[in-house]
């Protein structure tokens, strides 16, 4: 279900302390998301690209993920340049695209790709388990972590449940068509999946109570900040500060 296909690997990036990777990814994403200058964004895009190269990720898989994101971005390109008011830039038939609209669409494209790439290379290179631990060490509220982790943990189980049900449908010769029978069957499928998930959550909670659960989760492992973490952490932080200065420097000065 959730393949964690980038998590296995042994590059420099994979070995970095996950706490630091989370902090860098979040601050980078914020800076890129609020920036409104094209040069800043172009400089920003440079960062995850270099990291992807260092992490030696499977380029095909990375590009495939980006393709999914850009599918949505493509829709923006259909509307934005032609509806945004500004200087005419180019025209297709009766439609005229504005320069401002085109720049705006480009910025959104660069932002999305940069942030997704950074998430892939910084977050997806750690397993979910490690990320959960790291979040805890970063003092993220326990309840949020529980929701995140239990979603991940039980999506897998619910997916298996879903497969079981669809198999049960298939062996009784169910083929989806455009008719009431199909709609009703899918409604039943969703309904029973909800019921089963609810039941399971109740049983899991009961099992936790039976082992003395009082609202606290425990961690056995602790991370160690290595010298290499400090060095690369400082370099990346400086880079992000550089982006901030590039973006807001004049306002501050």
């Amino acid at each position: 279900m959730i393949g964690e296909e980038f998590a296995s690997g042994d590059s420099y990036i994979h070995r970095l302390d996950p706490r630091m990777k989370i902090l860098i990814a979040v601050s980078y994403a914020i800076v890129i998301a609020v920036s409104d200058k094209l040069p800043v964004l172009l400089c920003g895009l440079f960062f995850p690209v270099v990291l992807v190269a260092i992490a030696r990720l499977n380029m095909k898989k990375v590009l495939f993920r980006l393709l999914i994101v850009n599918g949505f971005i493509f829709l923006l390109w259909i509307f934005l340049p032609f509806t945004y008011p500004g200087k005419p830039f180019f025209s297709i038939g009766p439609l005229t695209a504005s320069w401002e609209g085109t720049v705006y669409a480009s910025m959104i494209t660069i932002k999305s790709n940069a942030i997704i790439l950074a998430s892939i290379v910084l977050l997806a290179t750690s397993s979910i388990t490690t990320l959960v631990h790291a979040l805890k060490h970063l003092y993220v509220p326990e309840k949020l972590i529980h929701i995140f982790f239990f979603c991940y943990r039980y999506i897998h189980v619910i997916h298996l449940e879903y497969l079981k049900l669809t198999h049960a449908m298939k062996i009784r010769c169910f083929t989806p068509k455009t008719n009431m029978h199909t709609y009703r069957t899918y409604a039943y499928l969703v309904g029973i999946l909800l019921l089963r998930s609810y039941d399971r959550s109740q049983r899991v909670y009961d099992a936790m109570l039976c082992r003395g659960f009082k609202g606290k989760f425990w961690m056995l492992d602790h991370f160690e900040l290595k010298k290499s973490d400090m060095v690369s952490g400082s370099v990346m932080t400086l880079y992000i500060i550089g982006l901030v200065i590039l973006q807001w420097g004049r306002i501050i000065a």
């Binding site: 959960v132 039976c210 003395g212």
Partner: protein, 239 residues
Amino acid sequence: MGTNNSLIHLEEIIFGYPSRPNVLDKFSFTFSRGERVGLVGANGSGKTTLFHIIMGLLKPHDGKIEILGKQRDKESDFREVRERIGFLFQDADDQLFCPTVAEDIAFGPLNLGKTHDQAREIVRETLDILGLTGFEDRVTYNLSGGEKKLVSLATVIAMKPEVLLLDEPTTGLDEETTERIIDFLNSNSDFSYIIISHDREFLERTTQYIHRIKDGKMLDTVSSQGVIMKTGNTIRTVR
């Protein structure tokens, strides 16, 4: 009335779900230290419900529950019960929820107030006992069915319970894994446990006698060799 030796004493327990006949109908049952009993009965005869009532996960409509020498009514009464009685769920996927095997096994002992070092030691010991040495860092949901069951058992015995309640511990397991569970249960004559199972051979090899439940009542008690020892509803097992 429970004697000093009785760990679990239920009297005339009534429990049911709406618009159906009661699952447990004036059900009485006594379980003493050192006993090893099996619980059999048709599907839906109330075996799992009985375990849930003992653990305080379900509240009976009527009847008296006495566990570990005290009457238990409220949720808070059952905290101690849960610390001292270990319950293995039917489905291992309900029981295992921590990222790694070690954390899952350590979860119970840490809840009981053990330190991290003690918990680690318990994890190692428990895995050794069940022949799962080296499983510490395995991710729980990637285990095979048999491994999941053994790890679930490990999470329960890591709390060193005085009584084990095992709900169909061998369903769906291969012979080798079943043998491991049998070996574990027979490894210590101090164990007290109640096992729900449909596997007669398994019960013969692990229990002294078998209670049969029917229509929400105790039907009779049969020795593992098949001799009826006691018939009737209210039951005090004879040794």
